[in-house]
Symmetry: C2
Subunit: 384 residues, 2 copies
């Protein structure tokens, strides 16, 4: 594995250990990271009212990700009429962002919010639940979880980490990343210094890339100095907020490496099993609400952000050539297949995903994909 949790992709990467301690000690209500975490008060139950704490791996209120966690907490509180309130902490406010799972597992906090691939160092199979290169899109991913055996498999994976699993958001098809060199052929990946974590990073490595991992804050200077040639992040809505256009010229699509990244809400099993069935149902439905909310927020904002990037910041939008995508697709098949074959649980998850993907591809061709093509024909639509 090339990427350590503390150097993992996404906004959370901004929160390096030094930052955690800085932030944690700066806060009035939070203790220094790690050490003092166990001194936090246990959830209180007074007059039938429970107070839980959820730490996210994201900076607090981060668009689409942090706001999804806020929405989840808000609706748990509202629907339970305050019988269960969930206080939201940003990554590093209680423990370092990537120790969120440990904090939930140990009972320090009751809930976490992140992405499944952050936990691959604990249970390797989790990385396949997040998103697989050239795998499922968000709608297919949701259908796999609910009707394709995904919930049961994810619960099995998360049980090994002492947690109950919920899908709590989806980023949609991500962008391919920011490049300072054009990609004309898969040969251009040879020696390319790119920050790309997870399964996508393994694929780029197989293509000859020099895959590096950097915390988010170090990406812009590394791009500007030429220390790296490329990086991926999320999509226009997040990438604009993060300012990546200042350091890279070319913005490539599509995000073959993360076609529908799942956000996870994980609840400590002891806390979960101690809940009455109505509060369990409230958590399940609030997660469905958050899942839609996050995806909707990205879908509603990505295009305007992209326009700002292209028109105001003169970013050059480019599609990966088909030859490149076809080669990366083949490499993905090999790399992901090898990783999945490494342990029985990973294999079980990937076999299930591969089966669901086959039928999804067949049906997409005559439904969503055929509709997109039809809608793109030259006719003039409604003009009010």
């Amino acid at each position: 594995m090339t990427d350590q949790p503390s150097k993992k992709k996404g906004p959370a990467a901004r929160l390096e250990r030094r930052d955690f301690i800085k932030k944690a000690t700066a806060g009035t209500a939070v203790a220094a990271a790690g050490i003092a975490a166990s001194t936090f008060p246990k959830p209180s139950l007074s007059q039938g009212r429970m107070k839980w704490r959820m730490q996210t791996t994201w900076p607090k209120n981060f668009p689409g990700l942090g706001t999804g966690a806020n929405t989840l907490a808000e609706f748990i509180g509202k629907a339970s009429d305050g019988r269960l309130t969930v206080e939201v902490f940003g990554g590093g406010e209680i423990v370092p962002a990537f120790e969120t799972m440990d904090a939930v597992n140990s009972g320090t906090i009751e809930m976490g919010h992140g992405a499944p691939y952050y936990w691959k160092g604990k249970v390797a199979a989790s990385q396949f639940i997040a998103s697989v290169p050239f795998g499922l899109n968000p709608a297919e991913q949701n259908a796999w979880v609910q009707f394709g055996g995904g919930q049961e498999l994810a619960d099995k994976v998360y049980k090994e980490m002492g947690c109950k699993f919920f899908v709590s958001g989806n980023t949609g098809v991500q962008m391919g990343g920011w490049f300072n060199k054009e990609i004309h052929s898969v040969e251009d990946y040879k020696g390319l210094k790119m920050r790309i974590p997870g399964l996508g990073g393994e694929v780029v490595k197989a293509a000859g890339g020099n895959v590096v991992n950097l915390p988010g804050g170090e990406i812009p200077p590394a791009l500007a100095s030429g220390a790296i040639d490329a990086t991926e992040w999320v999509g226009p809505y997040n990438d604009l907020a993060f300012g990546l256009y200042k350091s890279a010229k070319y913005y490539y699509y599509p995000g073959w490496h993360e076609p529908g990244t799942v956000l996870d809400n994980f609840v400590g099993l002891k806390a979960w099993e101690g809940l009455s069935s109505d509060l369990q149902a409230i958590i399940a439905t609030a997660n469905a609400y958050a899942n839609l909310f996050v995806f909707n927020e990205f879908n509603a904002n990505n295009n305007a952000s992209l326009n700002t990037l292209v028109n105001d910041h003169k970013v050059v939008l480019k599609k990966f050539p088909d030859e490149v995508l076809d080669n990366l697709g083949g490499l993905s098949g090999k790399v992901v297949g090898d990783l999945a074959a490494a342990d029985p649980l990973s294999r079980e998850v990937m076999e299930s995903i591969a089966t669901f993907r086959k039928q999804s591809i067949a049906y997409a061709k005559i439904s969503e994909q055929a509709f997109y093509n039809a809608r793109g024909l030259p006719f003039k639509w409604v003009d009010l």
Copy 2:
């Protein structure tokens, strides 16, 4: 309007008035349709427990549609710990299916479940909220409702019918329909006798089609006798269950006329406003759960149903030629535009949808659509 509510598309069409009365009088707990409805007991409030009734426009337990309504009711009951239970009635069990809105409006029942275009005879703008030919796909539709002003507009439309509006499911991109004649050119629509309701029907009429409306039960014999040449329904999962393959040979895609049909849950305003805020939040989150559930159920089952249709029932799957789709697209623009210009509320809704559609098309090209194309390249993927 070519289609009367009682002859509207979808499974509900099976429930013609005669059927309603038959079913209603046959039931032990339900009264004869219409007349006796007002004698039903009002919702009871004993020991803080409310019992509501929801009638669907669908046959009870109908796959994807009725099951979505069941799921909504189930999670309201679970999340409220039985403080609010919702009993589900199939179309016609309390009042005729298309009088469900009247029954909610009058307070006979508290909730209904159907599709927005069923209410176009009451408020014309509702038909645009359901789905628009060549309009938004399901993900775009959800994003429009939550972040594009759709919820506010739908609430405005439904307020005129005395209700609060929730999205409670989506069928996904539908199929183009069942045909006994091949469609080679838009000229083939001239004189084509097709059962297709709503906005899609208006477009087929504009193409020279002879649009007829038939209750569902009369469709198979009408197709078999040549009284009609074609019909649309939903998609493979529903169409297989309905047995349409017995009477038509060609199954066309994509469903340009309904690219992401919304199911609605409507709550009588008086009942809604009388709820505590926790029960309101429970209804909102349970609808999000139902919305995902319905779409997931279709996504998980459509392909296997299609395979059964093609392999076991020898259905011939065909794509509408691009020339036909381009012409239907242009006609849709004109027909929908004219209908939307007919009243201020319809215009307001359609202007909002058209704005959201423009940005959705631009972004889909570099995200979902580009990903589908990349995934369809010839490379070999994971083989475990």
